[in-house]
């Protein structure tokens, strides 16, 4: 099974991410997101960042998580290629993400993501987990 795939949205781009559980689906969503910005194959997992977030429902948790990734990308000026996510039953998420500082001589420069949208955002938990998100470019 694919870990993620993209779909078209007129001005922007959407992705679906899959996993056997929430953790894996969120990790795959992270890969989908960073492969919009660059080619993650060239991003070495040299530096580690950890964070925790909590939200009121699964869709909001996905939104908040992707926002947090974007925040670290912009503010720490980094690209990420490894993601470890642990979500508990109380909607608390712990993440450890690994990557390195942006170097546009080495990393492919693709597209800037402005923001995460709630548009058609979905977290479906039946026979594995399926996530859907659209990002604003």
């Amino acid at each position: 099974m694919k870990s993620y795939e993209y779909f078209e949205a007129t001005a922007d781009i959407g992705f679906k991410a899959y996993g056997k559980d929430l953790n894996e689906a969120f990790e795959n969503a992270s890969m989908a997101m960073f492969n919009i910005i660059t080619d993650t194959c060239d991003v070495e997992p040299k530096t580690e960042i950890s964070f925790e977030i909590a939200s009121e429902d699964y869709v909001s948790l996905l939104y908040d998580y992707l926002e947090e990734l974007l925040f670290h990308h912009e503010v720490d000026f980094m690209l990420f290629s490894e993601f470890n996510v642990k979500i508990d039953e109380n909607l608390n998420l712990k993440a450890t993400i690994k990557g390195e500082g942006i170097n546009w001589d080495k990393h492919e420069r693709k597209t800037e993501i402005k923001a995460i949208t709630f548009h058609k955002m979905e977290v479906v938990q039946t026979d594995g987990v399926k996530l859907r998100a659209i990002v604003d470019l």
Binding site: V75, I102, A115
Partner: protein, 482 residues
């Protein structure tokens, strides 16, 4: 029956969805769209116009402009005004890129003056003005200085040596919304804003050297200081990560607020709050702060554009008369006074992908333009013309003083990437005498001119319906893309 069967033609290029279309509508819907594009109009965008016509306190019409397309919650290319007494404010009605806008700088140069220097000018502009994904501004703000940027906008920039004091007179809001309150802006938004101040951004944002190719209205062009053959510079940019974060923060806050205040919504992305609520007031102040960031940002870029021209052409920017013509916001919410059924009312006007087009006499319009109406700047896409129009009385009567903002995308980015090749686009543009500099081939493909609606048609509809009148056509010479 589809929705389109319910839409009535009002006059050429103007359509109406009657307020009786469904029971929840509190106003009618209006579209200003080319008759020949009517069949292509997305049903999703029509539904969004209807959804907005259902919101509390909405006034007269929920409006779709000639470049309308489907957006998140609110369409892009839309205007909606709400009563200050029982209305709402919605971050979705402004969009992620708060005060994304356009600035036009004139000069006394002609093609003869720059002909041998175009390569050098575009190389140096590209170098001096950071752009593209993951780009940082060139400056380092002192601790806490971001608050001054957010509170004072372009005024902060001028005080810190970016540009001339008289620049402020020709910016919408003079480049500073007084409602701004930096203390309401989240640390996250500030942290995203600090490193990116003084950068162009990416996607459809651009910096372009242009030539005034055609004048449609000599009298107004003279008032705006434009004449045929003049070299001008256009900047299209916004509030960067700072504004995106303010929008995201308040989408989350409003998502809780609309439930708390029991507002019925057909789409979660219309999340909003009553104007007298704390959530609404905070959003308005934070939005104003992000708008100020964008004005400071465009002001800094103006300074570097002037420096680059000075460096390459060996004359001072003052000698080259590189004055700002105007600077417009096209994603913003503002309190304005408008006539509603012959009564003057204070309204909260949301413009998302819409340009203010105030007509003659309005005090918000700089004094030197007041007799003819404000300059309206409508950027084209990469390789296509841009336009200057002026605001009209008709826009005041019908669209809360608003008109279109640009071309509007019709092809998805991935489709554009599949269909077009960066090298071919570059060659094609060069054959037309247009130089292009971009941070990546991706952006050239994604922004292929054919991925957008024809800007000429968008402008023609604005002009023919009277919600802005044509003044000048600007032809691209060199484009810098993020």
């Amino acid at each position: 029956m589809t929705i389109k069967d319910e839409i009535k033609k009002v006059r050429d290029n103007v359509y109406e969805i009657p307020g009786t279309y469904n029971k929840k509508m509190r106003a009618s819907g209006r579209f200003y769209i080319a008759d020949e594009y009517f069949d292509d109009l997305e049903e999703g965008a029509i539904e969004q116009i209807i959804n907005i016509a259902c919101l509390p306190g909405v006034q007269r019409y929920s409006i779709g402009l000639p470049d309308i397309h489907f957006g998140y919650g609110f369409p892009i290319g839309g205007v909606a005004a709400f009563s200050m007494r029982n209305g709402i404010v919605s971050p979705g009605g402004v969009g992620f890129d708060i005060n994304c806008g356009v600035r036009l700088i004139k000069s006394n140069l002609t093609m003869d003056d720059i002909e041998g220097h175009i390569d050098e000018l575009s190389e140096k502009l590209f170098k001096n003005i950071p752009s593209g994904v993951g780009s940082k501004g060139k400056i380092r703000l002192e601790e806490g200085e971001i608050d001054n940027v957010l509170d004072n906008g372009a005024e902060w920039a001028v005080e810190n040596g970016y540009g001339w004091p008289e620049d402020l007179e020709v910016l919408e809001e003079n480049g500073k919304m007084v409602d701004a309150d930096s203390s309401i802006v989240s640390d996250k938004a500030k942290k995203r804003g600090i490193p990116q101040l003084g950068s162009l951004g990416s996607g459809n944002h651009f910096l372009e050297i242009q030539e005034v190719e055609e004048i449609f209205n000599e009298e107004v062009a003279e008032v705006f200081g434009l004449k045929k053959g003049m070299i001008v510079v256009m900047v299209h940019s916004g509030s960067r990560g700072c504004g995106h974060q303010v929008c995201s923060d308040y989408l989350r806050i409003m998502d809780k607020a609309y439930k708390k205040y029991k507002i019925q919504l057909d789409d979660r992305q219309l999340a909003c709050a009553p104007l007298d609520s704390k959530e609404a007031q905070n959003y308005i102040q934070a939005m104003a702060a992000a708008a100020n960031y964008a004005w400071a940002n465009r002001q800094m870029m103006t300074h570097w554009i002037r420096e680059t021209f000075e460096d390459v052409l060996g004359k001072s920017a003052k000698d080259m008369e590189m004055d700002i013509v105007y600077d417009v916001a096209h994603n913003i919410v503002k309190m304005e006074n408008h006539k509603v059924y012959n009564r003057e009312e204070d309204l909260l006007v949301h413009r998302k992908g819409a340009t203010r087009a105030f007509g003659p006499g309005r005090e918000e319009v700089p004094e030197k333009y007041r007799a003819v109406g404000q300059p309206v700047l409508i950027p084209g896409t990469m390789g296509t013309a841009s336009y200057v129009l002026h605001g009209t009385e008709k826009a005041m009567e019908e669209t809360f003083g608003s008109t279109a903002h640009g071309a509007g995308r019709i092809l998805s980015r991935s489709k554009a990437k599949k269909d077009y090749d960066a090298d071919e686009i570059t060659k094609d543009l060069e054959s037309k005498g247009i130089k292009i500099k971009a941070t990546s081939k991706h952006v050239i493909e994604e922004e292929a001119p054919w991925a957008y609606k024809d800007v000429d048609s968008v402008v023609r509809v604005s002009d023919s319906t009277g919600i802005a009148k044509l003044v000048a056509k600007l032809k691209p010479i060199a484009v810098c893309k993020g």
